[in-house]
Amino acid sequence: MNLTRLKPYLPWITLVTLTLLVGIANPAFFNPVGLMGLVADIVPLFIMALGMTFAIYIGGIDLSMQQMANLVTVVATVYLAQFGIAVAFICIITGFLFGAISGFVTTRLYVPSFVSTLAVGFVALSGAKYLSGERALSMDATLRNESFGWMFTTVAGIPSELIIAGVLLFIAWFLQTRTTFGRALKAVGSGELAAVASGLNVDKIKILAFAISGTFAAIAGLMFSVKLSGGDANLANGFLLLAIVAVLVGGTPLTGGVGGVINTVIGTLIVVVIRSAMIYLEVDATQQQMVFGVVLIAAIALTIDRSKLRGIVK
């Protein structure tokens, strides 16, 4: 089998190889319960990466997701008592609106998404700080269990969190591959000018893409908030770069139009395997970050399909 035919499978191969390497070095890694737990734990990160995929798929980026999730953890905690499970809708609407604002600023005001989303993120952070009174808030345990206790049950042995992730993945996948909107996203990502010349409402599509990424950020924030039973303006810190890395390692390049949500599944898993490998292989704590960087370079070097980067590598 030659290398070109192998290319689309490189992210998979990287994932399997990494998993095997870790597993051989420490067979405890293959403990099914542990693995299941490992995967269930990354659900909020995965959902965030899923949202990020939409922004990157159209050739943009969404740096506001972490702050959006922060805001949502606060919103969820503050309004849980008042609205019960309906707080989920408030969270999702919040995410959608903030994402749409990012999209609006990007498309209508011509501010590159790198800057516009960063700035909108700051606004969301302000909101989170205001709403939380700059304190860490915690949810009432009974209320949380009444409204969201189901998130921690299992269905046929599978954690509900994973089922939620699966459903969201399916929705994202369906949106991306089966709908006119997904097709339009691909057109915008691969050739925006041609999309304009085909009469697509490109601005609307882009605004929607950012709104979707905002929505996913909100869902991730909500799940994280419920999981941790509380919220504050810094709770989701540390998500952003990992989510970006997960998308990129999965093989969705920043140039857009290539890759997609399935790649993000692999990318997230790769990131998680690398991270847990540090613990399983007992990498010294002071070396972990450096090792993470080096392995990341190797993983990206392996997974990106350069033939699809089209032309120059910037």
Partner: protein, 347 residues
């Protein structure tokens, strides 16, 4: 009819759209500098105190200018480094790691070799810059040789840098107490500390590189059309590699000024430089898609960001509003300094 007469020459209009856009960042800066004293004036006027606009302003004073410059100086160096990269149409996110490593290496070397600038320890300064250049070089190699887009390559290299700094220090912070080195901050000429002048000198050097050297001009060529530049016989890979190396060197200068400002080198020295410097570059009018802008734009951008940060505290904005206000002002500044007609689309 002759070729020359047919194609003719176009006259440039004095107040062309390009010019307005070109000067917009400076305009934004001036407006901001005039805006914050206005809030001070309002505050005092409401309290019934005498306050002559600007003259009685605490914000609009030489002492505060010095404070703004002190906080801007390290960020300016880092932003200048990344300006070169952005002009090429790439991006460099490795600055936090590089700054930390350079600061730590400098502090270790400085203390090991004597701990005062009057000994051989002065060698720690060029060594730090070399280390920065080397880190940039490696970053460039990863980007070019492994054909990884600069966003990802530099992001990962940033992790490596921060990790390396952590490995070197084991988490300790190193104090650099030498009074001669610290005179960067403590010694003032005409009301401004030495570090402001040092930063200015490096700004001039960067300007010189940008406008008078082949390398500097080649950055613009690569940013304006990489494939075309390649077809013209330009060794684009070499230009890129040199660009990342140069950026690394400027990150190192930023690290030195950061250490000079605080007197401490640690793994966290590089924190927050990434978004601040890139935001500053963009706010200054250097386009993320490359080819446009330059180091003077970056100076204006860095000043805008620092004026906003300083001004918000000075007028007494509550902490939680500050982030959002910064965000909105950044959007406003970028909107004003973007030539919308010249870009077909933005992502």
């Amino acid at each position: 009819m002759d070729a020359a007469t047919y194609v003719g020459t176009q006259r440039r209009k004095f107040l062309s759209r390009e010019r307005v856009v070109k000067w917009a960042p400076l305009l934004v800066l001036i407006v901001l500098v005039l805006l914050f004293p206005l809030f001070e004036w309002l505050e005092d006027a409401r309290a019934g105190d005498d306050h002559v606009y600007l003259l009685d302003s605490r914000f609009f004073s030489i002492r505060n200018a010095a404070r703004i410059f002190i906080s801007a100086a390290p960020a300016l160096m880092v932003a200048i480094g990344v300006t070169f990269i952005i002009i090429m149409g790439s991006i460099d996110l490795s600055m936090e790691g590089t700054v930390s490593v350079c600061a730590v290496v400098f502090a270790f070397a400085f203390i090991a070799w004597g701990g005062t600038l009057l000994s051989w320890a002065w060698l720690a300064l060029p060594v730090a810059v070399l280390v920065g250049a080397f880190m940039g070089f490696v970053n460039g190699l990863v980007h070019i040789k492994l054909k990884i887009p600069s966003f990802m390559a530099s992001l990962a290299m940033g992790f490596v840098g921060t990790g390396l700094a952590l490995l070197l220090t084991g988490g300790d912070r190193i104090r650099v107490e030498d009074p001669i080195f610290r005179s960067l901050l403590t010694e003032r000429w005409f009301n401004f500390p030495v570090m402001c002048y040092v930063a200015f000198v490096f700004l001039l050097i960067a300007w010189f590189i940008q406008s008078r050297t082949t390398l500097g001009r080649n950055f613009y060529a690569v940013g304006g059309g990489e494939e075309l530049a390649h077809a013209s016989g330009l060794n684009v890979e070499r230009v890129r590699l040199m660009g990342f190396t140069l950026a690394g060197a400027f990150f190192a200068v930023g690290a030195l000024l950061a250490v000079g400002r605080i007197g401490i080198a640690e793994t966290a020295t590089g924190n927050n430089f990434m978004f601040v410097s890139i935001t500053a570059v963009v706010v200054g009018g250097t386009a993320l898609w490359g080819g446009i802008g330059g180091v003077w734009n970056t100076l204006v951008g860095v000043l805008i960001v620092n004026v906003i940060n300083n001004g918000m505290v000075v007028i007494g904005l509550p902490g939680w509003v500050q982030d959002g206000t910064l965000g909105l002002l950044v959007i406003a500044a970028v909107v004003l300094s973007t030539d919308r007609k010249s870009v077909s689309f933005v992502k």
